[in-house]
């Protein structure tokens, strides 16, 4: 029981963390609440399904291709839809909801509403210290950790990363310093969509794929980002793992827990925010306090 919670919590938490980091990046840099973020994750998973099962591609190239396509899709969507109305934050949010529903409906029309599975890339189990885990779960955990490390390195070591952090910190000053802010926003959106597709690739073989799979992760990702403090990458990773473990523990320990899996994570968020309104790692601005 304990090891099952540990393994599943790590898989789920890792996936939420990758999603939450992408979401937090876009929010921090472009100041957009991108509700279509988990829809990118769903489309990424579907692209892998199309390529590996329907077209019969080998799994690795289909994953790489899916991630590349999603990176481009994210940038196109930002350019086409979100960039034009960025003065109206609520309109941007609603358009992103619209984009997400559009993806969902297109997938519903194209594939029907049933659940589909993708074969694991590698079958079999591995035992680490007496804990039995499917290879696929190990791959999922390792990939999400690698993605998190990669994004960390990208943000701290490269020039683009510096520019992204500068824009997130202060748009006007970044602009004055010669950073092309709108280009950075497009790049961030691309990175975020790539992260979402990575999460999709990681979990597609572990969980089922269906056209409503974006809704539950969306609530959890929003909760994780708020829990950690909006705009804090470190905080959103921590928030995602807390919620991932809370969800897994509830499913395994509480009778009828599967019904409560959303409720528990969100209750955790509400309680934390009531105690600490700025989240775990959020920055408090003097003027924002009551």
């Amino acid at each position: 029981m304990v090891e099952a919670i540990l393994i599943n919590g790590l898989v789920l938490g890792g996936m939420y963390a990758v999603l939450a980091v992408g979401f937090a990046l876009v929010f921090g840099v472009a100041k957009i609440l991108n509700m279509a973020h988990t829809a990118f994750y769903m489309v990424g998973a579907y692209l892998i399904l199309i390529m590996s099962i329907m077209l019969g591609f080998p799994s690795l190239p289909s994953i790489v291709l899916a991630i590349a396509i999603m990176g481009i899709t994210g940038r196109v969507i930002y350019k086409l839809f979100l960039d034009r109305v960025k003065e109206h934050p609520v309109a941007v949010m609603i358009i992103s909801v619209g984009v997400a529903i559009l993806f969902q409906e297109v997938l519903l029309i194209g594939f029907g509403g049933h659940f589909r599975g993708i074969d694991p890339f590698i079958h079999g189990f591995v035992e680490i210290g007496g804990i039995r885990a499917a290879y696929q779960q190990v791959i999922a955990i390792v990939t999400s950790l690698l993605a998190l490390v990669a994004i960390r390195l990208l943000l701290s070591k490269t020039q683009v990363g510096n520019a992204i952090r500068a824009v997130a910190e202060d748009r006007e000053i970044a602009n004055v310093m010669g950073i092309d802010v709108s280009r950075i926003c497009v790049i961030t959106m691309g990175i975020s969509a790539v992260l979402a597709a990575v999460a999709g690739a990681v979990v597609a073989p572990v969980f089922m794929v269906h056209p409503l799979m974006w809704l539950h992760p969306l609530t959890i990702v929003l909760a994780a980002v708020v829990l950690g403090g909006l705009g804090s990458i470190k905080g959103s990773i921590l928030g995602a793992f807390i919620l991932g473990f809370a969800e897994t523990a509830v499913i395994f320990l509480v009778p009828m827990g599967a019904f409560l899996r959303g409720a528990v994570g969100l209750s955790v968020m509400v309680v934390v925010l009531l105690l600490r309104p700025e989240g775990l790692f959020g920055v408090v601005f003097e003027e924002e306090r009551l």
């Binding site: 609440l33 609603i94 509400v270």
Partner: protein, 354 residues
């Protein structure tokens, strides 16, 4: 008597007939009241009953989130709490609809106050995301007690609102008209009698300045949450009795997004924009549904219309229309039709001469 009627007529002419937006609203409401006589089709009646009911729901979202700036992404909570309490009372205890709907509305007020308490500490996107959580938490609770709440299937066998569809329609339409007029009056910034409109605008624009000016923002925020909860609750109670089922779908994320979609589409911070958004989008989607191809593509169609409209009119469709037919006098702030060159009251030029 004659002079009194004449004064009334002149007032009507000045306040309504001279303002194009209000003329459109008047024609629209008149048509709605005549609808059962123009098109006596039960399906049309059903679509417009539900549209009127959702208009209350969307307007109550606009009242809370548009006017006071408390972005609420979980508005379905108020609707759902009320629909479920009305249905529970009706199914398990046999309480008649005229009692369950007010009780449901009061349940909505309580839900509003509960959500309002975190709103005193949180703001902006934090508040938005916390409010989003509540209906989803409630769904979990409903699924855990399927014996009482009906679980995933929902609670069915709720009493009808009244005997006939036409009477149902008129009840809903009257309640909707009254509720929307009350909300519109409460948010009217220019009203001399009700001062809440100005105060709500002040809280949205700058809360700290509002506090510094001696406005008890805590009290007003709680008040807005409970009023919004009340009207969303009225809509929820009517809904439960109209479609005679209270299911968990009314608490889902999509249902919370719906009033936002309608309001943003119609125009936020207007009340009438929310109503227009519902009456344009909802019947359109439902009528498209009648066709077998439309059944499949209706949501795609709705979303595409939404995105295109928002890309070109990010302030919403009613704002765009209003800006193209009305002109506010720069001197006396009276609304004039766009075709006039001089203000109808003070004769000031409406636009700078070229």
């Amino acid at each position: 008597m004659g002079s009194y009627l004449y004064r009334l007529y002149r007032g009507f002419q000045g306040e309504i007939l001279a303002v194009p937006g209000r003329v459109i609203a008047l024609i629209f409401v008149t048509l709605l009241f005549l609808l059962p006589h123009i098109i006596p089709h039960p399906l049309v009646l059903k679509i417009f009953s539900l549209a009127a009911l959702f208009a209350i729901f969307a307007a109550s979202w606009d009242f809370l989130s548009g006017f006071t700036g408390q972005l609420n992404l979980g508005h379905a909570l108020f609707f759902g709490v009320s629909a479920y309490s009305a249905a529970l009372l009706n199914v398990h205890l046999g309480v008649p609809p005229w009692a369950t709907i007010p009780i449901g509305a009061i349940a909505g007020v309580i839900a509003g106050l509960l959500v309002g308490i975190p709103a005193l500490r949180l703001r902006g996107f934090y508040l938005a995301l916390v409010t989003l959580a509540f209906p989803i938490i409630l769904i979990g609770v409903i699924f855990v007690f399927p014996d009482i709440t009906g679980g995933e299937l929902g609670l069915f066998g709720v009493d009808r609102l009244s005997g006939s569809r036409v009477l149902d329609y008129y009840i809903i339409l009257l309640v909707a008209t009254a509720s929307i007029l009350v909300m519109w009056k409460l948010t009217d910034g220019r009203s001399k009698i009700v001062r809440t409109g100005v105060i709500l605008h002040a809280i949205r624009e700058d809360e700290i300045t509002a506090r510094a000016s001696g406005i008890n923002t805590v009290r007003y925020k709680l008040m807005v949450f409970s009023i919004s909860g009340f009207f969303a609750g009225v809509a929820g109670g009517l809904y439960a009795h109209y479609i005679r089922i209270a299911g968990p779908s009314i608490l889902e994320l999509f249902f919370s997004f719906q009033p936002i979609i309608w309001t943003i589409f119609g125009g936020i911070v207007t009340i009438y924009g929310a109503v227009a958004g519902v009456f344009i989008l909802y019947p359109l989607v439902e009528l498209v549904r009648l066709h077998p191809v439309g059944e499949i593509y209706r949501i795609v169609l709705m979303v595409l219309i939404l995105i295109v409209v928002l890309l070109f009119m990010p302030q919403g469709i009613t704002r765009w229309v209003r800006d193209h037919i009305e002109e506010i006098c720069p001197r006396c702030k009276l609304i004039n039709i766009r075709t006039r060159r001089y203000c109808r009251a003070c004769r000031a030029p409406l636009r700078a001469e070229k």
